[in-house]
């Protein structure tokens, strides 16, 4: 099974590289393509150094933002894949466990109170803390006698997510209109303002977690056959479920902390991947990671050029593209169980 996968992964890597180049080439401000290429090449050590505003727009603003979109898109796709295995539910995604809404709550709280009130956490830090606290809460609610049931996990996630969403709305009504726009943008997700510094932690988390899950691909396959069968085949299902939960949370919390709440990528990409490469997670994970990265880069580009010079939150576009897919999937799933 190795050869076909290598070809597909190589092809997707090329698609991703092209998406990144396209993402860097177009944007709110129109620059000649020749300039864009010269700047990128100069920073890769080829050709002359380009000075001035063009260099700054392309290398300090666009490039890190496009790369962050790739990292976050890939991370969310991998997180969704893990959560679907963990919850044994095709409709699971990072939103279902309330991680995204918990992070949003942390972020708007930081906006309202100022970061000093939260012990010097910035908005990202507050979002990460919100995601982590939500997760511990969901996790505690979902377990019973030391075991985590998939159905209980989803229900606890949905309940907690409603609660944090309500609290977020409450806080939003207290902030002034200018800040409100900022929190809105953040809740729907955006890569605007990303710099090179924002890229480091998400990249490390994303690469290490994905690699770890690929190593666990066989166990993920076995998990889809049911808890009893998985136990029989030698997987400690409860421990592995916790492992998957930690991996998915780490990915989601990191992504939400840097880019806000971006829905549907974690749902859409794993399913499209499974349609193409089948159910084997050793294939699904790398393909979903690369596919999610390209998808997010292109959606981010759409958010910038849709109504120039205005920028829109990416969450709007992922939802517009993702909702019909979600509904189609739901209709198919309910047909299957009826």
């Amino acid at each position: 099974m190795g050869k076909g996968l290598s070809v597909l992964v190589a092809a997707l890597a090329i698609v991703l590289a092209l998406s990144v180049l396209v993402g860097i080439s177009f944007g709110t401000v129109t620059l000649p393509l020749g300039t864009v290429w010269r700047v990128v090449l100069s920073h890769l050590g080829i050709g002359d150094v380009v000075k001035g505003g063009d260099d700054q727009i392309i290398w300090q603003f666009r490039t890190p933002r496009v790369l962050l979109a790739a990292v976050v898109g890939g991370g969310l796709a991998v997180a969704g894949t893990a959560l679907q295995v963990l919850a044994r539910n095709p409709l699971a995604d990072p939103y279902v466990l309330g991680v995204s809404s918990g992070a949003s709550f942390g972020a708007v709280l930081a906006v309202l109170l100022g970061s000093s009130a939260l012990g010097g956490l910035g908005i990202s830090g507050a979002a990460f803390a919100g995601a982590t606290i939500t997760l511990i809460l969901v996790f505690t609610l979902a377990q019973r006698a030391g075991r985590i049931g998939p159905a209980r996990l989803v229900l606890a996630g949905v309940a907690v997510s409603y609660l944090t969403t309500a609290l977020t709305s409450l806080v939003q009504l207290q902030v002034n209109p200018l800040e409100l726009r900022g929190t809105m943008f953040w809740m729907l997700g955006s890569f605007a303002g990303a710099g090179w510094d924002d890229l480091r932690i998400p990249t490390v988390v994303m690469v290490l977690t994905t690699a770890w899950l690929v190593v666990r691909g066989r166990w993920m396959n076995v998990m889809t056959t049911g808890d009893d069968t998985a136990s029989g085949l030698g997987v400690d299902t409860n421990r592995f479920r916790i492992e998957l939960l930690v991996a998915a949370s780490l990915l989601t919390a990191t992504a939400v902390a840097v880019a806000g709440g971006i829905g549907f990528v974690g749902l859409l990409v794993p399913h499209m991947t499974r349609l193409v490469v089948g159910p084997d997670h050793r294939r699904v994970l790398p393909v979903a990671a690369l596919g999610g990265a390209s998808f997010m880069v292109l959606v981010d580009l759409l958010s910038r050029v849709f109504d120039r010079p205005n920028e829109y939150p990416v969450g709007i576009f992922t939802a517009v593209l993702g909702a019909p897919f979600f509904l189609a999937l739901m209709r198919r799933a309910s047909k299957g169980t009826a």
Binding site: R218, G226, D228, G232, G234, T237, G278
Partner: protein, 263 residues
């Protein structure tokens, strides 16, 4: 490898399902678990395949405590399982499904050794499914699927085989064929069976369960007496000899039946 269940109590959400089960399965024997619905057969098996931790008592596999001495992975080197929940994901091919039997033997990166390939092919051949190796499990009949799950357990290369009502939903031919394959596998086997007649024909010994207690263990001919069956299963029974095979043969009638005078 022998299997020992000693004073096991099992509860699900604080409801005690198995109160006190003790049984010893000798190496190489086919051991049946029989009893009415709700008697605790499946629950006891779930404990043996390490999905349910006992509230009291111990389970020993070849002398090692399943819960204290063996990890999930090492336990899978000692016993393989055919469960009732094995229907969840049918998107895998027969070969990929059977290859899952090698999960506990894989290296860190989950790659297959050549040895794994050979064992998987041999297991598929053993249950007569080589012709369907590349087919999706979803396209197979119930009996064929059950053979695939048996092959997955065989590929695990464990000395003990556990099966939870493997003949459910199968037609008569598929039932007999599957039980024949289980016998031919030659492993120490614990099988929960609904059908007492199958248990009588296939098992070396049976343990009868009622209301969460293991009532009695012994050879089918000694244990499955009219008095016990009437008492535990609340049916009238005629114990005879199968006219074709010579095996123990049970025929049932409602408790209210008045036996006809022999003619």
């Amino acid at each position: 490898m022998n299997v020992e269940v000693r004073g096991v109590r099992l509860a699900i959400d604080d409801v005690v399902i198995v109160h006190d089960a003790t049984m010893v399965v000798a190496p190489g024997e086919v051991h049946g678990l029989v009893g009415p619905n709700g008697s605790g057969k499946s629950t006891l098996l779930r404990c043996l395949y390490r999905a349910l931790r006992p509230a009291a008592g111990t389970v020993l596999l070849g002398g090692a405590d399943l819960w204290r001495d063996l990890s999930a992975r090492v336990a899978a080197h000692r016993r393989a399982v055919v469960t009732q929940d094995a229907t969840a994901d049918l998107d895998f091919t027969v070969r990929d499904t059977v290859a899952m039997g090698r999960t506990a033997h894989g290296g860190l990166f989950g790659h297959y050794a050549q040895e794994d390939d050979r064992l998987v092919d041999a297991a598929i051949a053993e249950v007569g499914m080589t012709w369907a190796a590349r087919r999706m499990v979803a396209t197979l009949s119930g009996g064929e699927r059950q053979r695939v799950y048996l092959a997955r357990a065989v590929a695990q290369q464990a000395p003990v085989l556990l099966l939870d009502e493997p003949t459910n939903h199968l037609d008569v031919h598929a039932q007999l064929e599957l039980l024949g394959l289980v016998r031919d596998a030659g492993l120490t086997t614990v099988v929960a069976l609904h059908d007492l007649d199958h248990a009588a024909a296939v098992c070396d010994r049976v343990t009868v369960m009622r209301g969460g207690h293991a009532v009695v263990t012994g050879a089918p001919a000694d244990v499955l007496t009219p008095a016990l069956i009437e008492d535990v299963f609340r049916v009238r029974v005629h114990v005879g000899t199968h006219p074709l095979t010579g095996a123990l043969h049970l025929t049932f009638a409602p408790l209210s039946t008045t036996p006809k005078e022999p003619t």
